[in-house]
């Protein structure tokens, strides 16, 4: 046989292989199977020792908590609890549990099981986990078989929302190890049961046939529509990167592609008539800059404010993210009713003026270094840093150096008091409350998140909003807090607005504690400074106690909020929660 004939033979074989149908070799499936592609990963399947999107997503498909968020809204609704009461002092929560619920291992769900689950996770409290979200729990107690009482250490209006996280969910005492991290061994209450997990390849779920969410004697018709799974079997496939995910979605290899596409692929797929697009109108995933406010030159608020006025959010969004992401002017992202655009628009003239007051000119420029980590945030991170450099240097007074760090190095250095002064970070909330977009850098985790602020006014705002139960007053507290942390407090016009808000809080609240805190804040903030010189002097005087602009919000990460599906897919809900609910998806 000649070489040519052999080559033709191989080519023909390849062609035949290519054209042969993919035979239903092993697809002896019963009913429909839904395939979902993603680039996300599962870390450790332990509710007390994991804290990342897809690991928690697996728990979300396989078990329930006392409460959950109604799809498409941010409303807290009952799940395993039928109803709940809160004591007058806000510290005792009494939950009435549903009866007739079972775990996927057949064990009956009751108060003892729920109490065991919460107590277990509180006790294990893994270093990689998010148990600290419910660390305010003081005691859990069963009043009867189906009544659970949880006492918290102090009033906290965010508590009920914190319960919609895996550390507070139900796990079967029979199948889940009591004293060690589960590492893949657990049984939940459904809607699905995980029947296979192959790391970095796939996870397979089978609908639990005795799931309470489908049982007419346990749930109402409206609840059934929210909880009962449509598809019996779901396979989630992990792709190596965004390009592979986009190719798999476009070729029809998976029914749904979700998290995370490249911006260019999103634009291309939006034009694909064979794909259906689902996207959220808002995203709670945000990106921002952090200052260590104790390190020079960032211990000077004028420098921080000048940088806030120099960053070019529009350039970042258009040049790096093809316009998919959205510029962000507050840490509490749009989508929350409490969100207020408080950071100023770009204003290079004012920025130069502030820098001049701070002692920096063209001849004596402000030379600073921005640290960032492409390893953690992806290849676009370097492009973002490059745009940051261009935009800050357009002032003519700032010289920005860029420092790319490995993620481990970055987290290690940013939590040291004198190592990382200025860096790029990202945030995905622990629970859906504006509190979680302010407190982490301003009060709760100032050291581990690298801001090192010691501003006690922030603590007052936090204590006010966590104590206040009236939503209107609470919204006002958040509005005031966002304004306060976004700078400009000394300026007459702004300070008048902020002061008015604080006075309104003091007048409207029915809680003496909140009134007292608002009045203390009014007394602490230095109002009515009109000249820049006065402002600089006051800023220096108060730089350890009044510290505005600790962080600068940059953009909302919308790219993670797109799903592309085959045309026959329905029921994909992408809302402010960012939860992906496999059980609501159907194939027509």
């Amino acid at each position: 046989m000649s070489l040519r004939v052999r080559l033709i033979g191989v080519a023909v074989l390849a062609l035949i292989l290519g054209l042969l149908p993919s035979t239903g070799a092993l697809t002896q499936t019963q009913g429909q199977v839904l395939t979902i592609g993603t680039t996300d990963r599962i870390t450790e399947l332990s509710p007390a020792n994991s804290y990342d999107y897809w690991t928690w997503h697996v728990f979300r498909q396989t078990t329930n908590g006392l409460v959950t968020i109604k799809p498409g809204t941010s409303e807290v609704i009952p799940a395993l609890a039928k109803s709940w009461d809160i004591s007058a002092d806000g510290t005792v929560y009494t939950f009435k549990l549903r009866q007739g619920v079972t775990f996927t291992d057949g064990t009956a769900f009751n108060c003892a099981a729920m109490k065991w689950s919460i107590d277990r996770n509180l006790k294990l409290n893994g270093p990689k986990g998010g148990v600290y979200l419910i660390s305010m729990i003081k005691e859990t107690k069963c009043l009867d078989d189906y009544t659970l009482q949880i006492t918290i250490k102090s009033p906290d209006t965010t508590f009920i929302k914190r319960l919609d996280n895996p550390p507070a969910w139900a796990y079967s005492p029979k199948s889940t190890p009591a004293d060690t991290f589960a590492k893949g061994k657990w049984a939940g209450t459904g809607p699905y049961e995980m029947i296979e997990y192959k790391p970095e390849e796939r996870v397979v779920y089978q609908a639990y046939d005795k799931y309470w969410g489908c049982n007419d004697s346990i749930v109402t018709a409206a609840e059934k529509a929210i909880f009962c799974p449509r598809i019996k079997k779901v396979i989630e496939v992990f792709y190596a990167n965004a390009a592979a995910l986009a190719a798999a979605t476009q070729s029809g290899e998976v029914d749904i592609g979700f998290r995370t596409f490249n911006p260019d692929d999103i634009i291309s797929m939006e034009k694909n008539p064979n794909l259906k697009e689902f996207k959220a109108s808002s995203s709670v995933a945000i990106r921002y800059l952090v200052f260590n406010v104790t390190m020079a030159p960032f211990n000077n608020p004028l420098v921080r404010e000048a940088i806030a006025l120099s960053v070019d959010r529009s350039a970042i969004v258009s040049k790096v993210f093809a316009g998919i992401n959205k510029p962000l002017y507050t840490m509490v992202p749009p989508g929350f009713a409490e969100s207020e655009n408080v950071f100023p628009a770009r204003d290079l003239a004012t920025a130069r003026e502030l820098l001049k007051q701070a002692g920096y000119t063209k001849d004596h420029p402000l030379e600073i270094t921005l640290s960032f980590t492409p390893k953690h945030y992806g290849s676009t991170e370097s492009d973002v840093a490059a745009v940051m450099k261009t935009s800050l240097e357009e002032t003519g007074v700032i010289k920005l150096n860029l420092e790319s760090l490995e993620w481990g190095t970055m987290t290690s250095r940013m939590s040291k008091a004198d190592e990382l002064p200025f860096f790029l970070l990202g945030w995905y909330p622990d629970f859906l409350d504006p509190d979680n977009f302010l407190a982490p850098w301003l009060t709760e985790s100032t050291k581990s998140l690298g801001s090192f602020t010691t501003d006690t006014v922030n603590v007052k705002f936090q204590n006010m909003e966590r104590t206040e139960t009236d939503p209107t007053v609470r919204a006002l507290i958040f509005a005031a807090w966002q304004g306060y942390m976004a700078a400009d407090w000394p300026w007459e016009s702004f300070s008048a607005i902020l002061k008015a808000k604080l006075e309104a809080i003091a007048n409207m609240t029915k809680l003496p504690a909140v009134k007292g805190l608002a009045e203390e804040a009014i007394n602490q903030i230095p109002w009515g400074i009109s000249s820049l010189t006065d402002r600089l002097a006051k800023a220096k005087e108060l730089q350890d106690t009044v510290q505005p602009v600790v962080v600068i919000p940059l953009w909302q990460n919308m790219v993670q909020m797109y799903a592309f599906t085959k045309p026959n897919i329905t029921g994909v809900v992408l809302d402010v929660t960012t939860y992906f609910r496999d059980w609501l998806i159907d194939m027509k």
Partner: protein, 322 residues
């Protein structure tokens, strides 16, 4: 050689920036006591020479440690993923040899003619093309546009969820089971990644093959064979090719190392669940033991391949005796 590799792997991992325990623990507000406990658990608090001796002793015992990412012994993870990489490597080598040798021999036997020039350019271009780019283009054309081949993975998602492998080598499994439908699916999934990887390797083999063949074709015994009136094909394939193969086999052995490094890109592009992708994910996660174990395993594997290549010499060249 292996000892040098072991030492280098050990040293490089220890001088890399960042605390591995911090990377492992990842979460917020990790207490110092937890970090210290983690360092004690992994022996990272011990003097470097103690860590080094323990590391060598453990590897000699076949103990590669436990991957903190998967929670499995590293050796278990390696053997779980190695069949995928080996299958890919074998098929890639098949395509590399097929394309490289064919083009090399054809170019040599048509030396300085248009076909020779075209194939030389083809070989240079093949060798110079970035694997990930070739892979992406192949995916776009054959999977996304024409929809005749799959985008990636070893099987279709639904089949993969039902399939239980016996050997880890899916081609072998489907033959053993006599499941020809599955075999077609496995081969379809293998085609694009192995062709991509093989094509890039073929460029180099083609260049070496051409040079080696040209050298042999100039030898006296070839001239003698021709002057005896032997058919051209007999001269080329029976007399010249066997001698031209010696340097090609050497290069093929060495290419295996290159092939495995290329597999990192290929496996990433095609979401191929192999050992090379495992290595990359271990690097990203600073999974100390997984990283260490995989590199050492690759080192041992490449040394073994080269040993096999040395043994093959004796079959090709009777002058070589061991």
């Amino acid at each position: 050689m292996l000892f040098i590799l072991l030492t280098l792997v050990f040293l490089i991992l220890r001088v890399m920036p960042g605390n591995p325990c911090l990377s492992m623990l990842g979460g917020r507000n990790v207490p110092q006591t937890v970090i210290v406990r983690c360092e004690q658990k992994y022996g990272l608090n011990k003097p470097l020479y103690v860590q080094y001796v323990e590391y060598l002793v453990n590897i000699a015992r076949g103990n590669f440690g436990t991957s903190y990412r998967t929670g499995n012994p590293v050796l278990h993870d390696i053997f779980d993923r190695f069949p995928a990489t080996f299958e890919l490597a074998i098929f890639s080598m098949f395509f590399a040899i097929l394309i490289g040798m064919s083009t090399g021999i054809f170019a040599a036997t048509h030396s300085d003619r248009p076909a020779d020039h075209s194939l030389r350019i083809f070989n240079i271009v093949s060798f110079a093309m970035p694997i990930f780019w070739v892979g992406l283009m192949a995916q776009l054309i054959f999977a996304v546009d024409l929809k005749v081949l799959p985008v990636g993975g070893r099987l279709e998602p639904i089949t993969a969820a039902y399939f239980h492998s016996i050997t880890g080598f899916y081609v072998l499994d489907s033959i053993l089971e006599g499941n020809w439908g599955l075999l077609v699916q496995v081969l379809k999934h293998l085609l694009l990644p192995s062709l991509t990887l093989g094509l890039v390797q073929s460029g180099f083999l083609g260049r070496i093959g051409r040079a080696s063949m040209l050298e042999v074709l100039d030898k006296d015994y070839v001239t003698t064979a021709r002057s005896k009136g032997l058919r051209r094909k007999t001269v080329i394939y029976k007399h010249a090719l066997k001698n031209a193969l010696i340097p090609i086999v050497t290069i093929t052995g060495l290419q295996f190392a290159l092939l495995l490094s290329g597999a990192i890109l290929t496996e990433t592009t095609f979401s191929w669940p192999g050992l090379a992708r495992y290595l990359l994910q271990s690097i990203n996660a600073r999974d100390f033991y997984a990283l260490q174990g995989t590199i050492v395993f690759f080192g041992i594997f490449i040394s073994t391949v080269n040993l096999v290549v040395d043994i093959i010499y004796s079959f090709i060249d009777p002058r070589v005796k061991y």
